[in-house]
């Protein structure tokens, strides 16, 4: 340790610095859920109206809204929800009355497996794509930008049509056997995971292509090559250290995105995870369930960013570490 952190003031500062990401995460979480809450409010109809399916009398609808607590102002309901969250209570579903936490506990394992497989696929595809475009002198990378722009349903439709319909290699839907894990028949994971991984790998490739090019063009890399060091060594010692930090941050970003993306993939393939729960909760304006579903990708993203930060501090190129350490991004200067 250097003298910088010596003394009482340094300790407080250090503690403050350690807490800062936590505070930031909390603030961002609150912001994310507030946005989702507002968006749900702006949708036409609420749980009371939609549950009575429109054919009930005005008095019936009012009674139902009253029972569900929907007659209170939106701000009060949001504050209520936030207060519950702080106490670790996600509330109860407006539709079934079951604790939201239970609904998610049932479905989280399936989604966790799907996201993990999709993330692994993303990493694999991204590394391959970067290697290929790198070998070709950086050409062909614009294809990644194009692929990243293709909407997810198109991937789902094309993949399903080809791999399940035409070739018959995979099941067209991803139902899980009762009480079973997706790992019992991993084939059911392929289509939803590919639907998630392809666009996110394209996105990651587009983002990291620039960082890779920058790293390759650095003087010390040119220098190392001129000195005749073998390519793997140059890559390992002089190029990759500059990619860890952005790669980790991109991974954190994508993990959050993948969790959010399960909504579509799970619904299309009938996969019983939290994404499917979100979609059907939006349809009936089940606000506590929607809020919890919004919390999930936000939490994954923020946690990922936090880990990426910590990791970046440790893995930044050795000659940069001392100066780069305090920054959020750990970006080498």
């Amino acid at each position: 340790m250097t003298g910088r952190s010596a003394g009482r003031g340094g300790g407080v500062r250090r503690a403050g610095r350690a807490l800062r990401p936590v505070g930031r995460a909390a603030a961002l979480t609150a912001a994310a859920t507030a946005v989702v809450f507002t968006a749900t409010e702006l949708l036409p109809g609420d749980a009371g109206e939609l549950r009575t399916a429109g054919r009930a009398s005005a008095a019936d609808i009012a009674a139902e809204r009253d029972r569900l607590g929907l007659d209170r102002p939106a701000a009060v309901r949001y504050a209520d929800w936030l207060y519950g969250l702080v106490r670790g209570d996600l509330g109860r579903s407006l539709v079934s009355g079951r604790p939201v936490a239970d609904l998610f506990t049932e479905r989280l394992p399936a989604t966790a497996v799907l996201v993990a497989v999709a993330l692994a696929g993303t990493v694999l595809l991204t590394v391959t794509a970067l290697a290929v475009t790198g070998l070709r002198g950086g050409r062909g990378g614009s294809a990644a930008t194009g692929l990243a722009a293709v909407p997810q349903p198109v991937y789902a439709a094309v993949l399903g049509a080809v791999l399940a319909g035409l070739l018959g290699w995979l099941p067209a839907v991803s139902l899980l056997p009762p009480g079973g894990s997706p790992l019992a028949d991993p084939r059911v994971l392929v289509l939803p995971a590919l639907t998630l991984a392809l666009p996110s790998a394209a996105f990651a490739t587009a983002l990291l292509r620039g960082a890779l090019g920058d790293a390759l063009r650095r003087p010390h890399v040119t220098d190392a090559r001129l000195r005749g060091l073998p390519a793997p060594l140059v890559l390992h010692r002089h190029v990759l250290p500059f990619l860890y930090a952005p790669a980790l941050q991109v991974t954190a970003l994508l993990a959050g995105g993948l969790v959010a993306g399960t909504a579509l993939a799970e619904t299309l393939f009938g996969y019983p995870g939290t994404g499917q729960l979100l979609v059907s909760a939006v349809a009936v304006r089940d606000v506590p369930v929607i809020q919890a579903a919004a919390l999930l990708p936000a939490a994954v993203l923020l946690l990922g960013m936090l880990l990426a930060d910590l990791a970046a501090r440790r893995t930044t190129a050795p000659d940069q570490a001392r100066d780069a350490a305090p920054g959020l991004t750990g970006r080498p200067v």
Partner: protein, 521 residues
């Protein structure tokens, strides 16, 4: 999504109200009184025992519930309830009420007290006998949850109902109600008296028992002690799948044995495959065009008649239901036993329609707005095609596709001319909710004293044939003068693996009672 299935025979006025609209895939595929002739499942070979049936059924995780007395928002839950709980009565394949837990029923002279005799050999799976007290408790619990289940039993006065002995229940109705046994069909799930916590499966007395429930699936095994005819299947796995296409794919790819409520398009695309059979449940899904009698130009009967004559019914059925349906004759419940059989079929007559419009003062044409939505597949298509047909009689109909989420609150029963939805409601239910002068949502603004009196008289008539005659009589007025253009009904469609036999193809919730299904080896 379509989250609110409600049974065909919803008992109450408010439940009927909901049934009108409400509601989901269940209804989409509901009910008929005559089994489709080409149903392969209606095989006459001898049933064999054993096997597991995997049933992919409409269901959304957000509306899933374990409480059989609340809102029946999820078809997958209803299927589970129908297999694990006994109900008082069920609809038969011919549309008539059949006994289940109630072996017989008898009204008093005023038709407002019904004495039901319960079978004495029914037991819950924990060994306790099913008693009248359990039935009354369950019915009262349903009535107590009226806000959640749209007042499913609102026409019964359960405070005045009694259980004079262990196997007799006397149900009081709020008004003479000749169709009370029908109102008890399918949804009167009986649980043990005092059951309150439904977060875990509550014991039932039905043909199957719940072995396991999870995020999307329920596993049921045969209840060996059930009083009824022994079910053939050892096990039934219920898979809730929200997307109709995913359900159809599940059967096509061998991941499920039955897919409930699939779209005509899915059937067309599966039609060439030897791996699937189509179960066709004669149609009651309908998207009538509704004209309000209290609003110009539809306050003129000549305009309404012209609009009915403009419809090319066959073209509509072929386009909207892809041929899986048949033309209708402007009566909203053609499957009801009370439908008059002697009315001529209205057909397209452009010249006569133009003449009528001219007589009504619209010789130079007429401009109207036809509201529709996308709540149910094909609703918007129906309106668009009908608007083209109206152009031929000189009517300029602008089709306005409204958001599905608010359609039933903002448009339904409010605009002068719009697309409705029925999923198999009975004529008495429809009348209570939408055709009496004091009905809560009189969607056509149909107010006729003779109609009101005719209905009251019919409901107080014990003789069934006489009652159906009376109901048929008031439907003739409706056919002649009402505010409906009912152009056709679409079939309910299920897909099944080739070996599945005995799937119900009758009315409404009857198809949830799959305890006699078997699998050919």
């Amino acid at each position: 999504m379509h989250q609110h299935p409600t049974p065909r025979s919803l008992p109450s006025r408010r439940s009927a109200a909901t049934a009108l609209a409400a509601v989901g895939a269940l209804l989409l595929s509901a009910c008929s009184s005559t089994p489709a002739k080409d149903t392969p499942a209606a095989s006459d070979s001898t049933p064999v025992d054993g096997g597991t049936l995997r049933y992919a059924v409409a269901g959304s995780p957000a509306t899933a519930s374990g409480d059989p007395h609340g809102g029946l928002g999820n078809e997958s839950d209803v299927l589970r309830f129908a297999l694990t709980y006994d109900v008082l009565t069920v609809p038969g394949a011919d549309g008539r009420t059949r006994p289940r837990l109630a072996t017989s029923w008898k009204p008093d002279a005023d038709m407002d007290r019904w004495t039901l005799t319960l079978r004495d050999d029914a037991r819950f799976t924990d060994g306790r006998p099913v008693r009248a007290a359990d039935v009354l408790y369950s019915l009262r619990r349903i009535a107590g949850k009226a806000a959640e289940n749209y007042g499913r039993l609102a026409d019964f006065d359960l405070a005045k109902s009694t259980a004079p002995d262990a196997h007799t229940v006397v149900l009081a109705t709020r008004a003479p109600m000749a169709d009370a046994p029908r109102a008890l069909e399918s949804v009167t799930f009986v649980v043990p008296e005092g059951s309150e916590d439904f977060s875990r499966p509550v014991t039932g007395s039905g043909p199957y028992r719940v072995e396991r429930t999870g995020a999307q699936t329920a596993v049921l095994t045969r209840n060996e002690k059930w009083w009824g005819e022994r079910p053939h299947l050892d096990r039934i796995e219920i898979q809730a799948v929200a997307d109709p296409q995913a359900r159809a794919s599940a059967v096509a790819s061998g991941q499920a044995d039955v897919a409930g409520s699939v779209s005509p398009a899915a059937v067309k695309s599966a039609g060439s495959s030897a791996r699937t059979q189509v179960i066709r449940r004669d149609g009651v899904t309908e998207y009538p065009f509704v004209m309000r009698l209290d609003t110009a130009p539809f306050d003129d009967p000549r305009v309404r008649e012209a609009f009915r004559l403009a419809a090319d019914r066959k073209a509509l059925v072929d386009t909207v239901f892809l041929g899986y349906g048949k033309v209708a004759n402007d009566l909203p419940t053609p499957y009801d036993p009370s439908t008059p059989k002697d009315l001529p079929q209205r057909t397209r007559d452009v010249e006569k329609a133009k003449r009528l419009l001219a007589q009504a003062g619209h010789a130079d044409g007429l401009t109207v707005t036809l509201h529709t939505t996308t709540s149910y597949p094909g609703m918007d298509t129906a309106a668009t095609l009908y608007a083209q047909q109206l152009a031929d009689i000189g009517v300029d109909a602008e089709v306005k596709v409204e958001p599905a989420d608010t359609y039933w609150t903002a448009v339904y029963a409010k605009k002068a001319f719009y697309t409705g939805y029925y999923g198999g409601i009975s004529f008495p239910d429809l009348t209570r909710v939408g055709l009496l002068s004091d009905s809560p949502t009189n969607e056509t603004a149909w107010r006729s004293r003779s109609f009101d009196e005719g209905f009251a008289e019919a409901m107080a008539t014990a003789n069934e044939a006489r009652r159906q005659d009376l109901l048929a009589g008031i439907q003739r007025d409706l056919w002649k003068d009402g505010g409906y253009v009912v152009w056709g009904t679409g079939d309910g469609l299920d897909l099944a693996a080739p070996g599945v036999r005995g799937l119900p193809d009758g009315p409404g919730f009857q198809r949830m009672f799959i305890d006699q299904v078997w699998m050919a080896k």
